[in-house]
Symmetry: none
Subunit: 207 residues, 4 copies
């Protein structure tokens, strides 16, 4: 009954969040056990409940915090930028950068949505829609000004987001490219596509 010295006090909650992020990212929410979590934190299982009310609540907390940050930081980044092309480029740079830096939160925020309680689910999906709207607003304004030529701004929005978000699955900090380079490549792809005008094959239906 001697107490092993573990992480005490207000630091424990932070350790739980960090370990939870790691383990959910590694194994998934359903597959992560509180035993694993406690052991990662260096604490007994029961002690977790001094800080979280439920495994489900921990998941929600992590995702909610991520979504709040995402929205807040995006708005800071876009503040004062007006031209749709510039806004779009800023959006892309921000999104790529954030998704590289907070890979695990992002991944969980997508893949564990279905593990959320209905109420929690609705709340998060609402926030996600707000974020998507930031992009589609840009696309709509650019389209209206004749700057963009897109078959469907909604589809384009989904496509761009999916493409950018994919960065999480392959980017390695130690790899060949820097965050900035990746952002630039994506910018180019989004804005100009693979085939600059005038180089389409003569028999292409795209012409």
């Amino acid at each position: 009954m001697v107490r092993t010295v573990g992480s005490h006090g207000p630091k424990t909650m932070e350790a739980i969040r960090k370990a939870g992020l790691k383990l959910i990212h590694e194994h998934g929410y359903e597959a992560m056990t509180l035993r694993q979590l406690a052991s990662e934190v260096g604490v007994q299982v029961g002690s977790l409940y001094n800080h979280i009310s439920t495994k489900q609540d921990l998941l929600f907390d992590l995702i909610k915090a991520h979504m709040d940050d995402l929205l807040e930081e995006l708005d800071i980044r876009l503040a004062g930028i007006d031209h749709p092309v510039d806004r779009l480029k800023s959006f892309i740079a921000f999104h790529v950068s954030y998704h590289i830096l907070r890979k695990r939160e992002v991944f969980i925020g997508y893949s564990e949505l279905r593990s959320l309680d209905p109420n929690h689910y609705e709340e998060i999906v609402g926030l996600r829609r707000q974020y998507e709207r930031r992009l589609t607003d840009i696309l709509d304004r650019g389209q209206a000004q004749g700057l963009f030529q897109v078959g469907d701004t909604a589809v384009a929005g989904y496509g761009i987001l999916a493409m950018l978000t994919g960065v999480c699955t392959w980017f390695r900090p130690s790899g060949r490219l820097s965050r900035e380079q990746v952002a630039e490549i994506y910018c180019d792809m989004v804005l100009r596509g693979l085939v600059p005008d005038g180089q389409l094959p003569a028999d292409s239906p795209l012409r």
Copy 2:
């Protein structure tokens, strides 16, 4: 794990695969229980083991079959097409179409990779790489022929795949757009981007 047609009429194994697909898609592999599965099939839990050897094996089976189909059907589609742009367009059309029609297999094939045993995981990842290679080969050849202008064909490949695959998350058969329309929009985005040349703002660093 294959079962000959028994006297009970509808093939139980097929029912198990179908129900497994549905339940894993809905709840995830970890969250799906064999009791749910048995109940969906209309059979007792123990009976499942006359058809599958293991929950894990069922997952592998489903994903493996999906990957085999994916590769096989892609190769049929690309057969005889030579020009990189045309190959790319065919790839896009095929990918979009397949991902819309077999949404659940596709979803599971991505999201439950981490639930696979190490050996199974390696096998599936190998197949996935073959599929990705089909795309990057196209990009590399197009780039070599001066048809494409991409900062990095590997990044572009990942980006395109992610964008196209995203169709699974938003496409509704009852929605505004047909599969063909969606494929065309994506084609345009990939090949020409949002901003056709000559319309970039004068102060854009893209120029």
Copy 3:
């Protein structure tokens, strides 16, 4: 993973009920653990759930079965008896006898009422009221015919039931008195009281 031979098949449920009766009587429902129960039955804890759906449901089952038996057997015993005094005497004899023979069910039926879920609680209390009504009906009819002289038949009913039921707490089969003797003593007490008329002390306010 070798299976220890335990109680198999349909006998297990009976063993669970018997062991449950014993353990709840000994320790109380809340204090009884399913580990104890399983060990008493000679089975693993999880196996209990092949037969019961819930600890709570086992409790309800036991109490419900007891109440059903109680009512059914009482009605058999009273059938064909008309005179209120005879009916009362039969009721007493039955109640004492039943409560001696099925001490544990009776005890649980009283003391664990509060552990029942609200719905279960209501159902059992309804049955109990039916049983009490059997007695108060007898008292009411006797009172109406001038056979009984009771200040309040409802109070008398509660009093008689409490007195008779108390037999559970002290009767030992190996004791000095037989079931029949106990029933007779209680009959006398109920019908004639301690002090036969004419022997009250002269200064008693009872006169």
Copy 4:
């Protein structure tokens, strides 16, 4: 376990006893948790241990205090009364009155006996026997003086106690009858029974 009045105003120990009484009565000792208790008192769980040494000790305290009061007040009430009938009537009046007024202590004193540690159990049972002896002494003396005609004074004692104690389960202060009326009804039942002599049916075996 006694606590001097601290600076926090209302005596916490008294609040704990009161809340304990309420919660044990409502849910039972096993089912009551110290968290509930602390919350009812308006204090954190850990703080309880500044006042009690153990959950078990709190139970014992409550029951012991009740038994001590019961005996003490009974002796005061019976002091100076000699005639067995009068003593019996006083006993009945006292018992009914006390059990109505201190319903919860009484209930706990019976129903939670089995939750007591063996040592505590023995001590309480000893006190309970003293109390019962007060009644059986009266009955024995009355029987010896030819005032009572009882088949068995021990059985009669148990029966009377059970009947009287039952008042706890049905009496409502807001009900039709006052404490005094109830006591009188019970007195009548105990002393004269339901059927005053001379009114037994001609064919009754009681004659």
